[in-house]
């Protein structure tokens, strides 16, 4: 989230698209009801299904799964055409005026530089025209045909309301009504918030879906303001913390990168990370990259990381591929190239696409270790459960070790919510049975591995032997110790760069923020963005003061929000070029003539003059990007692409299947279905009664939603002779499931390209373990395809067929 849950109450218009906030985030959704109740805010829902969120919406429109980009580009086109643009914002706070290289272009659904062989773009043309001074060329009048604004105008020109209706199935009048409602939020005194979740991310072009809305929000001037923003609703209570702490296979904590094989030494690694500003006077905060990185390595290896050994850069692993995401790991496992898999707090058997492949992959392992509080399907993948898990147990030779762990309610620690609030919590219950904290288990494993290296040596023991492990009880680091380490502390006295005599942090003290980090080895911090969360004043995350001056929703004294306790990112953009709030009733920060002041921690240097320094301080441009240069693999603008399994061909390029640069393995490409065999579009989703695959173990939740079902329209039910509550078989290219049929008016066939498109809704909470009735999930059917930028699987749009089934399970 750029903003915070509590800020949603400040909005005038909530657009829920690519999510189902009421259903999947009912507690956070209360802020929508607050906005409706207290500001008269309107709620728009655009979703293939009439969801629980739609049930309380002011306006609902259906959309074909996987066609969001067309809708969003259509909305941008409508706003540009109807002058619903926050012009001052666009001209000053976005890169609309930047000139793009002449050789950049778009044709046949593809941007320049496509290499079909490599399934990749040569992105060199996707860049600004750089002047001799090293700064990008701009045209503040926005008239130059090569400026981003004109290119965008040209890019979205094809997305007429007719085109949008044809692709998305959204009736034109509904689309136009929504455009109108959205367009009103270009006024400085009206803001719109976008709430989205997996409905946008889980596509082969998920990141571009989100880009589309972000661009729309920038055009409306809704980023950095109260009640605005791009608000990703995170699914797990700590999934934000997962990415923050670098649990992605290509990241280290704080969104720093794991080096690749092409970066064998520190100098090479840093050479592409100087982040020189592309406009004069701009902050380009990533210029401090080396401070974050060195402090991280000091946290890892302490005294062993020295200037002489490039801060132990050699200890870091170097990736041979862009990432070892879950799809790649299971592809390797399926090929028999993985011996041991540690599965911690994860249920891949049900969570990952193409369950059949996951099962055979797990069966190839020698050892599977499952750390989980629950009896997961993954831990029991080898058990035969009739049709619900039809495996040949005798043929599976995998050793499975189950290490029971505690769950969140039995742990002390911090969770990062969608709004980046790191909230400390305390254990509410004693762990049952033999359950142990994950930290205890990890510490045991580490100590034993280290002992092996100590005793037996090894090819390269340094990284293990030198790892900092100075916890009071080496058997179980406490959450407090780990949190203090992430915040960082001064190893030597740290001085003010402007005043060599002034000590800003004494050696041994906790740092008060990442501004105190240094790249000379005098500081350490495990996760630079968390710096400030545990200072010399104590645990900031444990703060519980809910005072909120003037009811702005900022709650600055409640826990800690990264970065720097800032509640709304880019909040400098809430004020105009003179530093005055666009909307005085929604003031966030203001330029007093000398400094920035207000309700939130300014997202800019406190003394940076409003006319000089742009609000998007992390960007080299100092402004936001409507055009992303080469930073996304599939294009600097979003362009409509069909899902890999779609009832329609790509209208731009009939040969193009899915996202042309999305990663797909050969064996999986062969297992894609087509609409002649599988005529219906399926989409997966969650239900409010359950949380993922956990709560089916709980008798209360199981009673509230006991059995697996699929949802279909009355029209499809009639066409296939399916009765309400009857049993159906749903099958696709990769598998089949049996379910009860919920026949509903909330799904209607959409008309796309003149033909009806039926949608089959498949919720995902059932498996063969737990208290609820045994069932299936959508992932027996979903394709093994990942988003081009994030490798997130395409769970939200695939093809199936459906028919009535006999009541008794087929053995």
């Amino acid at each position: 989230m750029t903003n915070a849950w509590t800020d949603i109450k400040n909005t005038d218009l909530v657009v829920v698209m690519g999510g189902n906030a009421a259903e999947a985030h009912p507690c956070g959704f209360k802020w929508v009801t607050e906005a409706k109740a207290h500001r008269g805010a309107k709620l728009i829902v655009v979703d293939p299904r009439y969801t629980r969120t739609a049930s309380v919406a002011d306006y609902y429109a259906p959309i074909r799964p996987g066609s969001d980009i067309a809708f969003l580009m259509g909305a941008i086109r409508w706003c540009m055409e109807n002058d619903k643009v926050q012009w001052e914002y666009v001209k000053n706070f976005t890169n609309a005026a930047f000139l793009v290289r002449d050789d950049f272009g778009w044709n046949d659904g593809l941007f320049t530089g496509y290499d079909e062989e490599k399934r990749d773009f040569d992105k060199s043309s996707w860049d600004y025209q750089i002047g001799d001074d090293g700064y990008a060329l701009t045209d503040p009048t926005l008239e130059n045909p090569r400026c981003v604004w004109q290119l965008l105008k040209k890019h979205v020109d094809v997305y007429t309301p007719e085109f949008v209706e044809n692709i998305t199935g959204t009736p034109r009048d509904k689309f136009l009504t929504i455009c109108q409602m959205i367009g009103e939020c270009s006024a400085v005194d009206r803001t719109m918030t976008s709430m989205y979740a997996l409905g946008w991310t889980q596509h082969s072009k998920g990141a571009q879906n989100i880009r589309g809305m972000a661009m729309l929000q920038l055009i409306l001037g809704n980023i950095g303001v109260r009640g605005g923003g791009m608000n990703a609703l995170r699914g797990h209570s700590n999934i934000q913390g997962l990415t923050d702490l670098g649990l992605m296979s290509n990241l280290i904590p704080g969104y720093l990168n794991i080096p690749t094989e092409k970066e064998p030494d520190w100098q090479t690694y840093m050479s592409t990370r100087d982040f020189k500003p592309l406009q004069p006077n701009q902050t380009s905060y990533w210029q401090n990259y080396s401070k974050f990185m060195v402090s991280f390595m000091k946290a890892m290896w302490g005294d062993a990381a020295t200037a002489e050994n490039d801060w132990a850069y050699d200890y870091l692993p170097k990736l041979d591929v862009p990432s070892y995401d879950i799809l790649r790991m299971f592809e390797l496992m399926d090929q028999g190239r993985v011996n041991t898999y540690f599965c911690q707090g994860f249920n891949p058997m049900l969570s990952f696409p193409h369950r059949g492949k996951i099962t055979t992959a797990l069966s190839q392992l020698k050892t599977l270790v499952v750390m989980d509080p629950l009896e997961t399907e993954t831990a029991n993948f080898w058990q035969n459960h009739g049709i619900h898990n039809d495996v040949d147990t005798a043929s599976i030779q995998t050793n499975v070790y189950q290490l029971p762990t505690t769950c969140f309610a039995e742990d002390e620690g911090a969770l990062v919510n969608s709004g980046r609030w790191i909230q400390w919590h305390w254990a509410g219950a004693t762990p049952p049975g033999q359950a142990k904290h994950d930290t205890w288990i990890m510490a045991q494993i580490f100590q034993r591995v280290r002992k092996l290296y100590q005793e037996e040596g090894g090819a390269f023991p340094d990284a293990i032997l030198n790892l900092t492990w100075n916890y009071e009880d080496p058997d179980e680091p406490t959450p407090a110790e780990l949190a203090r380490e992430m915040n960082g502390r001064a190893l030597n006295d740290v001085y003010d760069p402007a005043d060599d005599a002034k000590v800003v942090a004494q050696a041994g003290n906790q740092l008060s923020g990442f501004g105190q980090l240094r790249d000379d080895g005098s500081t350490m911090a495990g996760c630079w963005i968390f710096s400030g969360s545990w200072t010399e004043d104590g645990n900031m995350m444990a703060r519980r003061d809910n005072s909120d001056p003037d009811d702005t929703g900022m709650f600055l004294k409640w826990s800690f929000a990264w970065p720097a306790n800032r509640r709304i990112l880019y909040n400098r953009a809430s004020a105009d070029m003179n530093g005055k709030p666009w909307d005085p009733t929604r003031k966030l920060i203001e330029w007093t003539g000398e400094k920035w002041e207000g309700y939130d921690v300014p997202d800019i240097s406190p003394t940076a003059k409003p006319s000089e320094v742009g609000p998007f301080i992390m960007n080299q441009e100092g402004v936001s990007r409507l055009f992303t240069r080469g930073m996304m693999r599939d294009g600097p603008f979003p362009t409509h692409m069909e899902p890999f399994e779609s009832p329609m061909q790509n209208v731009f390029n009939k040969k193009m299947r899915g996202n042309p640069v999305a990663r797909i393995f050969e064996s999986d490409a062969a297992r894609l279905g087509t609409s002649d065999e599988f005529p219906f579009v399926a989409t997966s989703y969650r239900l409010t009664e359950h949380f993922h695959y956990w709560t089916k173990h709980n008798v209360v939740n199981a009673a509230l939603q006991p059995e697996f079902f699929v949802e279909i329209s009355e029209e499809l039910a009639a066409e296939r002779g399916i009765k309400k509550g009857g049993r159906v078989r749903v099958w696709g290219k990769r598998g089949e499931v049996w379910a009860k049929a919920v026949v509903t008016k909330r799904l209607r066939p959409l008309i796309c390209d003149g033909k009806p498109v039926h949608v089959v809704g498949i919720p995902l909470h059932w498996g063969f373990m737990g208290a609820a009735k045994k069932g299936f999930g959508p992932n027996s059917l979903t394709p093994f395809v990942g988003d081009a930028n994030t490798d997130t699987p395409e769970f939200k749009a695939f093809l199936v067929n459906i028919e009535p089934a006999a009541e008794e399970p087929v053995a």
Binding site: F29, Y50, S55, V699, G726, V742, T744
Partner: protein, 328 residues
């Protein structure tokens, strides 16, 4: 919501953590089932109410979950029968239930998914209490809460017939009647109903009835501004008003919310049964019994006389007809 309630409110503020004295108790009972002339309490508690704003409800079933947890009930894990209602109906183990209706608004042609939290309405004039034959099995407090006292319940099911909203359910295990208690045990110690506490959107709020009505007014105004011209409060007069009220977007058509009764009232049949039949019936039987006893025992009676005996003897022994003297 304004903070004027002297009684406890919830879903807005947290309850006190210190032990507190019960804010009402059995001395505040104003009505007791099958009991005449209940001594009236010396004080009148402020009337309480739970307000369920159907237009804010997202159907998440947190209320059901909280209800199960607080009351420690064990609803069955049933099947899916093609609908979202689970359990499929109110049960002795499920005191509240989200009911879902898909309604196509004929005026706009748009689908509306109407989700209503069903459960005891806590009528000011409770039909269950009227129908109940067991003294003390159902009580009403002066704050409006209608509560079942299970020690006194005999499981006859008369409350089911008395209820205009079809709420009570009789357990097949202990043969007692169960329904929402409005969390009388929580309310008594400054906490609101568990469902209101759990409701993430504050579609369920709780406080004094006056406050709830005022709050409902603001909600209705908001709904009207959004084009729901018939938005209104459901506080049906036919049962003297209720202590569980709904804000409905279509208050003119309560029936579309899964058959919420248009004009609920205690059935005239039940009124007749528990009113005139009960009194008159007992009176008639009593009088008849008394009269019959007195007359039957103390009147002379209809006694055969000697003449009759002789006639019989003549007939039977002499085989002559005593009336005409001839042989028979």
């Amino acid at each position: 919501m304004k903070d004027t309630a002297t009684g406890p409110t919830t879903a807005v503020s947290n309850p006190p953590v210190q032990p507190m004295k019960a804010y009402f108790d059995t001395s505040d009972i104003v009505r007791i089932s099958a009991t005449k002339d209940v001594p009236q309490p010396t004080r009148q508690l402020e009337k309480l109410a739970k307000l369920i704003d159907v237009s804010k409800c997202i159907g998440c079933k947190a209320c059901q979950s909280a209800c199960i947890e607080w009351n420690d009930t064990k609803p069955e894990i049933e099947e899916n029968v093609g609908v979202y209602e689970n359990p499929h109906d109110l049960t002795p183990n499920m005191f509240t239930l989200m009911r879902f209706s898909e309604w196509e608004n004929p005026e706009t042609d748009d689908l509306e998914w109407l989700i209503r939290k069903d459960g005891c309405m806590h009528c000011e004039d409770p039909g269950c209490l009227k129908a109940c034959p067991a003294p003390g099995a159902i009580v009403q407090y002066s704050n409006g809460i209608v509560d079942f006292i299970h020690d006194n319940c005999i499981g006859c099911g008369y409350c089911v017939t008395g209820c205009p909203f079809n709420i009570p359910r009789i357990s097949q295990v202990d043969h007692k009647s169960y329904k929402c208690t409005l969390c009388s045990d929580r309310v008594a110690v400054g906490q609101g109903p568990a469902c209101a506490k759990a409701c993430p959107t504050q579609a369920i709020v709780f406080g004094t009835k006056e406050d709830m009505k005022a709050h409902a007014e603001t909600r209705i105004e908001d709904l009207k501004s959004r084009g729901y011209d018939n938005a209104g409060l459901y506080d049906p007069a036919g049962v003297g008003g209720t202590h569980v009220m709904y804000v409905l977007h279509h208050a003119d058509k309560p029936g579309i919310y899964n058959n919420l009764p248009e004009n609920p009232r205690i059935s005239p049949l039940v009124e007749g049964w528990k009113g005139v039949t009960k009194t008159a019936g007992l009176a008639v039987v009593g009088l008849a019994a008394l009269g019959a006893t007195l007359h039957g025992l103390f009147s002379r009676g209809n006694r055969p006389d000697d003449h009759d005996d002789q006639a019989a003897e003549t007939l039977v022994v002499e085989r002559r007809d005593p009336e005409n003297g001839g042989h028979i």
